[in-house]
Amino acid sequence: MPASSETTSEVASETRGAAIEVEGLRKTYDLKGGEQFTAVEDATFSVAPGEFVALIGPSGCGKSTILKIAAGLIDSTAGTVLIGAEPPKAGRRDLGIMLQRAVMLPWRTVTENVELPAALAGEDAQRRRARALEVLDLVGLSRVADAYPSELSGGMQQRAALARTLSYRPRTLLMDEPFGALDELTRERLNIEVAEIQSTLGATTILVTHSVQEAVFMADRILVMASNPGRILGEVVVDLPRPRRSELAETPAFLTASKRARQLIGIEHAHD
């Protein structure tokens, strides 16, 4: 298979001056009875500045673990992760994370939720409000700025979460299946919008997803992972023009990229 020939070391060597560098990353958990579970084994890859990389693979392949380590939410067992030449740390202002659930605080209005990162950093109230309104406009939520999250649909809540993440202009975006809980139509629309916002802002992005369609549609490059132990099998470069439009899904280039990603995942399944 041509796809499988692209090993992880080749993936690592091809970028210089990367925004995100992951080398020999390993994460194990101690289980009951002295056994160990390897969530991630020897993951090595890098992401160029402004690049959009999708991590895809079956559940338990460690894709979320890599993202959480990069976000500074959990520690790695071995290996190095550098984001903008610095090690991960929770609360870094140059790094934004989006989770599967929007996690809006129900007692704060949409705007107040978007202001939360700035409020935690003790920023001036007027300035942070102005910026919140600006990003709400960017994600198309100006009309519901003063509403409470309970009044918003799931898709709108996720938009608000995106606005919250973008509110402090992070240079790196880490997204952990941010649209996994949404319906198909909303998901597709948000894919288009997020891809567009990402390329406008030029943010270096890692998206964790288990949807091949989503990965191909949004990413410049897809890293395909396998589980047990979690590892990177190879990569698929998505050579599609931006801005990405929904019509792209029917083009040969899109289908080829999807097929290659599926093959990479499928090969692993055959060996299971």
């Binding site: 976000a71 500074g72 939410l73 929770a90 609360g91 870094r92 202002r93 994370i97 989770l99 659930r101 996690v103 605080l105 129900p106 007692w107 939360l116 990162p117 409020a119 935690l120 950093a121 198309g140 939520l141 009309r143 519901v144 409470y148 309970s150 009044e151 918003l152 649909s153 898709g155 709108m156 938009r159 629309r189 288009i192 919008e193 567009e196 439009r245 929904s246």
Partner: protein, 282 residues
Amino acid sequence: MPTTDLPRLEPDTSRTSAERPSTWRRVTTSSGLTPKTVALPAAALLGLLAVWQLLSSQGVFNPIIVPPPSDIFSELVDLLQEGYFWRALRFTLLATVQGFVYGCLLGFVLGALVAEFSTFRTAVYPWIVLFQNMPRVALAPLFLTWFGFGVGSKIILAVTICFVPVLVNTIVGLTSVSEDSRTLLRSLGATRWQVLRRLSLPTAAPSIMAGIKLGSTFSLLAVVIGEFLGSTEGMGVLLTTFNFQLNIGAAFAVALVLAFVGLALYGLVAAVERRFIFWRND
């Protein structure tokens, strides 16, 4: 162009209009006072009183043991003109409010410590469970012995009984914060104090308020029981005294006043709750 396609509000507003009464701005819809909800209970009460009055006038009830409503009412009117009644009411109210306030503070502080510090939790949790499940009024005679027949023993009994629901609900509320929201705040670099203030406390607030509402009912109950057992003053003393004098009408009247005191206290707490807690945690 897809990006200019603004989110459509229509389906969302239809969804939330059904949710709104229980989620936010509950204030506008929660009183539920319609002609029907006022008139029906009033009619039920009047009906009951009419039957009672009728049965009394027919001699079915012994008027000494079960006085007719008209007697209770006139006793109540008389009582309201007596200085000793107002002194008793003042004593009971003072003990209840102090016991309630101290009890809530104690329950809240203790609950926050239990929820935030695991060593402290391990040390005291079994004793909280024990204390929660014992009939705490059993301590009343001891408190009388230790703290005398004055207002002090009533306050302490009220604190003892009222702090437990506040404590338990504070613990439950503070520990029910979702892992996702903790992760979010951590990823934003929130300090422990910020997590408590910006996330845990607001999340716990509805639960804590429910505990406080229970506490308000409990503290009045505790004070009256304390007064029954031994007190220099108070509504409980008034009630037992009238009872011994076989002045059942006046005893009824005192109980009636206590019912309104309890309702007022609860209503006050509920009003505070409605003012500040307009959301529902999902």
